[in-house]
Structures are given as structure tokens and as C-alpha cells.
């Protein structure tokens, strides 16, 4: 069974067509197509080194694809610099946490509002007249997300010392406050226990329900993928091996083989 080819259509919020990315002689991903509809939670799975993170890096502009096209809401963003992709409404979290140490949780989350603010030298010098109103207005939006993710109690603490579950939540908060249309979560539940995983899954579902965000979710926890994703795509060695409804994809012999090996033997 060939994975279902997603035809380019106008309503897709994120669309990748024939993505290929090489690092020297290593082909990290090749011929990957995916399309995510508005309000959809889309799972991307695959064993380590199968190219999941390379795809997110191709989308967010860190490693522009060598071949293929990335479109966000119909706009071609192939090879556009990361800070410009952010302005188009794409937010992401990182596999191994990328919080800003030495800053409080609040400041970290406030940075998520960067694209909606107008920071500059003059507003800083004339804070009371030029910056305060904007800072307070954005603070209120940030506080809503802090409440949503239940981070009130650690608001003023430095992120350096937080446990990993909270750090992941702060990173999600930082991504959410930028009011993205497309949220890319790179293993948000890595290293979490069952309870924390449950919380995180609920936050993702709530974010979709309340904000209408589309989510590209990379995860190794198949229970989560089956539980909350509308559709999914499985990769192995940088190629698509199966796509569609999660409950069916996880039963696909090729997916089982890729993950635990020897399903046909």
C-alpha cells in the first residue's frame, strides 16, 4: 500500500511537497509529502534518525529543503529564514528544550509575543510614554496562557531550575502566546511520566479547541498519537512508509517492522 498522496489543496494550512534534504552524502529525508488542514492534529512518527526533526527544520527554515516546496496557507516559504517563518504564524517547540536560561518563566513566555510587539531603542529609553502600554497589553495575553497552562506558581522563577515537565510546558506556553496558526511540537512528551503526558495531551487538545490551532505532533508515544491525532504519517530512513488514520497506520506491518523489527518473520 502506497501512502496516500495528499493532493495540494487550497485549504491546507501547511503543505510539504516532495521534500528532500541531504547532509553531504546522507539523504535525511526524501520525497515526503504532507498536508495539514486547519484545526487538525497531525502525527509524525518514525524511529530515531528517520527524518522527523529534519522535516520540522525544513518547514521552519533552519535547513531549507534541497528539493520540494513548503507552503504555509498557500504561500511558498521554501528556504525562508526562520525569523520570517515565525511571522507567518508558525510556532514550534524543540526536542531538547530551547528555553532562555537566566530569564524568568514570565520573560521567556513574553518573548513569544515578540512578533506582535515593536521593541526598539526609543521605546526602551522612553518606557513610560512609548513602551508601557504595549508591554502591559501583551502581559495580559501572556497571563491568559500562563493560566491556561497552569504556570502561575512558577511565573517569576528562573527557568534554569524547573523540572523538565514544567520546562516543556513553558516552551508550549511560549509557542502558544505567539498566536500561531500552525504549531509544531517536536517530542513534547519525551521524558515525561504518564500523568504529565496526560496533562500535555489535554493541553494540546484544548489549544486546538480554544484557539483553532493546527498541530504537527512528533512523538514516540504511540498511545498519544492514536489518542489525539486526526491523521498521521510514519517515516523510516527518511521515506514515507504509511499514512492515514492513526488506528490503522499503527497496525501497518511496515510501521511495526520499522519500530520493533521482524513483523513479517
Amino acid at each position: 500500500m502506497r501512502p496516500e498522496k495528499h493532493q495540494p489543496h487550497d485549504e491546507a494550512i501547511l503543505e510539504c511537497v516532495g521534500i528532500e534534504r541531504r547532509f553531504g552524502g546522507v539523504v535525511a529525508v526524501t520525497g515526503v509529502d504532507l498536508a495539514i488542514n486547519p484545526g487538525e492534529i497531525f502525527g509524525l512518527v518514525g524511529p530515531n534518525g528517520s527524518g522527523k526533526t529534519t522535516i520540522t527544520n525544513a518547514i521552519s527554515g533552519f535547513y531549507p529543503p534541497n528539493k520540494g516546496v513548503v507552503r504555509i496557507a498557500g504561500k511558498d516559504v521554501t528556504g525562508v529564514a526562520p525569523h520570517k517563518v515565525a511571522k507567518l504564524g508558525v510556532a514550534r517547540t524543540f526536542q531538547n528544550l530551547a528555553l532562555f536560561n537566566g530569564m524568568s518563566v514570565l520573560d521567556n513566555v513574553l518573548l513569544g509575543r515578540h512578533i506582535h510587539m515593536h521593541p526598539g531603542v526609543l521605546p526602551t529609553a522612553l518606557y513610560w510614554w512609548m513602551a508601557r502600554r504595549e508591554e502591559i497589553a501583551n502581559r495580559m495575553i501572556v497571563e491568559e496562557v500562563i493560566e491556561f497552562l497552569q504556570l502561575e506558581s512558577v511565573r517569576n522563577e528562573l527557568v534554569d531550575g524547573l523540572p523538565i515537565g514544567l520546562k516543556k510546558r513553558v516552551e508550549l506556553a511560549r509557542a502558544l502566546v505567539s498566536e500561531p496558526r500552525m504549531l509544531i511540537l517536536d517530542e513534547p512528551m519525551a521524558g515525561m511520566n504518564q500523568e504529565e503526558k496526560g496533562y500535555m495531551a489535554r493541553f494540546i487538545l484544548d489549544a486546538r479547541a480554544e484557539r483553532g490551532i493546527s498541530v504537527l505532533l512528533i512523538e514516540h508515544h504511540m498511545d498519544v498519537i492514536v489518542g489525539i491525532c486526526d491523521r498521521m504519517l510514519a517515516l523510516n530512513y527518511g521515506e514515507m512508509i504509511a499514512g492515514g488514520i492513526p488506528r490503522e497506520v499503527v497496525k501497518d506491518p511496515r510501521v511495526i517492522e520499522a519500530y520493533i523489527g521482524g513483523a513479517h518473520g
Binding site: 525569523h83 515565525a86 532562555f100 515578540h114 521605546p123
Partner: protein
């Protein structure tokens, strides 16, 4: 000492985004400000003008360097060169007949332009490579100053600064000069305090900590690094100009040599990267401690009736102050600012923290 956080509630975001959230901190800052303003009337003018004035101006300069090194995380080994650009352009402008107010701004702007133009090229390198590139800027500036009589008057010459004149007033009195320095230092300090609570400051720290994570939030690292260099060079340029206008009264190339750059960096590192109060402490240590140690050694040797030859006497302060820097950085790698912060945090809850033990 006092449970100073007790009863402090912020009920809206405006009050929660104040510079000093704790009243005790605000009162301390106000008390220090009053002391700073009253200094010419309570301290001998020799102390005010030969210690406090350079301390204030160097603090402004150190804060500028702290902006680029502490906030934006870019090691800068050519800060004295930037100060020299500011000083020489301001003095030439003033000698040309430009009012001093504008001459100072011209000094700041030309330093800013040269500093950021240079950064535009240098920022293609990162970390230690950038540090070396900024060092190159220092050497280029040294060479330009000593080899172009049009700017500096020649390698061993010095350039007389015209009398400082602000808002139509000639400033010649010791008190007046001190107040100019105090005002500039206050302006820079307020700017830096605001930087701690605005999007610009957050963006700079983001660039310092993780530029890829900053990029994904829409922060253009290169742009903010350039902005950091431009701002820091402006502050450095004006500070350099004021240093000459209120303290040295004439500009010479060796006032802005590579040794001065290293000294400025030492001030920032000993004080604490990213710490405002730390810059005050760091400058005090680097600038004032050698003289202080010298005084102590001389008095002690007289009291004990020891004969110390001049050469030893000259080296003792340097050794002591070198040792002090090492000791401070061993105790607290984040510098004097962090050390102060630790003491403050401890006193904040003392004696109530004893109850738990």
C-alpha cells in the same frame, strides 16, 4: 534584617513592572541618589572630582559595554577604540564651534556608526573569533590615532578640549563637572533599567542564550546584535567624550589604548555580566582599589617603621588587586553584582529563614 517583602502586593501589571518592585530597594536607590547629588557639599572636592567623577563616567561606559557583552553576549575587546571615536569626534566638533550638547551627540553617533559598521563585518564571526576581530578594531584605531595628525595631532601630541558649555552655561567648577557626570550616568542607568523590562532587552538576552530559539520566535539575531553594538557604541562614545571634557581635559591616544579596553572588560566581568549594580561595583574595584591599597600599604609601612622601596610599593597594589579579582571570581563567578544580590536575598528574609532550621 527586615522582612522587606512582607505586605508587598502588586495588584496590577503596571505596578508589577516597576523598576524596583520592593519598596526597600526603591528607598535604597533614592537614598543613594540623594547622596550622589549631595556629594559635592559633604565630601572634599578632591575626592569628588578625582574619584567619584571618573567612577561615574566609567560606570556609564561599563554599562554600555555590559549591554553588548552582558546582554547580547558578544565579547567586545575594542571598546576603548569606540570611546576614542566618540571623544575625538566630539572634541573636533566642539573646537569647530558646534555647541557642546550637539558635539556630544555627534560623538555618540559617530562612535555608533563606526561601531556598528565594524560589527556588520565582524559579526560574521562568533565567540572568540568575534573577540579577536574586535581586538583588531582596537589596533586599527590605535594606528589611525597615532598616524593621523589631523585627528590626534600626532603620535605624542594631545588635543585640548574646549571648555565644556551646556545650555549656555560654561561649566568650569568642580561641582558643575561632577553634576554633568552624574546626570549622564543616571541617564544610562535608567536606560539600562528599562532594558530589563522591555522587549528589546528580552530579545538581546534571547540572542545571547540561544539564537536558534530566538529565530523561531521571530527575533532576527543579526539585527539585534547590530542594534546592541550601535547602542553600546553610542553610550561608549558619549562617555569617552565626557571623560575628556570633564576629567582629562585633553585627549591623547594612550587614554584609549588596548590596555583600557581590557580594563573596561575587566570592570564588566568583575562586576557581573548583565548586572547594572555590578557595573558600579566593578568600576569601583578596578578604578579605585589600586589607589586605596597603595594608601593602606604606605600608611602601614610608616606605622611599622618599615622601609619599602619605591619599586615594591608600585607593585604591591597591582598584586593585591589582581588577587582580589581572582578571589571575587572564585567566590562568585557572576561577579560583584551577584554577590550583592546574594546578600540582599539573604537579608530579605532574615531572621525568618532561621525559623526553619
Amino acid at each position: 534584617m527586615f522582612y522587606r517583602l512582607s505586605g508587598v502586593y502588586h495588584t496590577n501589571y503596571i505596578s508589577d513592572s516597576r523598576i524596583y518592585k520592593v519598596p526597600a530597594d526603591r528607598n535604597l536607590a533614592l537614598a543613594l541618589l540623594v547622596l550622589g547629588v549631595a556629594a559635592p557639599f559633604i565630601a572634599p572636592s578632591l575626592y569628588v572630582n578625582s574619584y567619584m567623577l571618573p567612577w561615574l563616567i566609567w560606570t556609564s561606559a561599563a554599562l554600555g559595554l555590559n549591554l553588548v557583552t552582558g546582554w547580547a553576549g558578544q565579547l567586545h575587546l575594542g571598546y576603548a577604540a569606540v570611546m576614542a571615536v566618540g571623544a575625538y569626534s566630539a572634541i573636533h566638533a566642539a573646537r569647530f564651534g558646534v555647541p557642546w550638547e550637539f558635539a556630544l551627540i555627534i560623538g555618540g553617533l559617530s562612535a555608533s556608526v563606526i561601531g556598528s559598521l565594524f560589527a556588520f563585518a565582524a559579526l560574521r564571526a562568533k565567540g572568540l573569533y568575534l573577540a579577536l576581530t574586535t581586538l583588531a578594531m582596537q589596533f586599527i584605531m590605535d594606528w589611525v590615532l597615532t598616524h593621523s595628525p589631523a585627528i590626534s595631532g600626532g603620535s605624542h601630541a594631545s588635543l585640548q578640549a574646549p571648555t565644556l558649555k551646556l545650555l549656555g552655561q560654561e561649566i568650569t567648577s568642580d561641582t558643575g563637572l561632577y553634576y554633568v557626570a552624574l546626570a549622564w550616568c543616571l541617564l544610562v542607568t535608567i536606560f539600562m533599567l528599562n532594558l530589563k523590562r522591555t522587549g528589546l532587552g528580552r530579545a538581546l538576552v534571547a540572542v545571547r542564550e540561544k539564537d536558534y530559539a530566538a529565530a523561531i520566535l521571530g527575533v532576527h539575531s543579526f539585527y539585534y546584535k547590530i542594534v546592541a553594538f550601535a547602542m553600546s557604541s553610542f553610550i561608549g562614545g558619549v562617555s569617552g567624550a565626557l571623560l575628556v571634557a570633564t576629567f582629562f581635559f585633553l585627549a591623547a591616544p594612550e587614554q584609549f589604548s588596548v590596555a583600557v579596553s581590557i580594563q573596561a572588560l575587566a570592570m564588566v566581568i568583575v562586576g557581573g555580566l548583565g548586572s547594572i549594580i555590578g557595573s558600579y561595583f566593578g568600576v569601583a574595584l578596578i578604578l579605585l582599589v589600586p589607589g586605596l591599597v597603595n594608601g593602606v600599604v604606605v600608611t602601614a609601612s610608616e606605622q611599622l617603621g618599615m622601609q619599602i622601596n619605591v619599586e615594591t610599593l608600585a607593585h604591591i597594589p597591582n598584586a593585591v588587586y589582581g588577587a582580589l579579582i581572582v578571589i571575587i571570581l572564585l567566590i562568585e563567578p557572576l561577579g560583584l553584582g551577584k554577590l550583592y544580590g546574594n546578600i540582599r536575598d539573604y537579608l530579605m528574609v532574615w531572621p525568618f529563614d532561621q525559623l526553619r532550621k
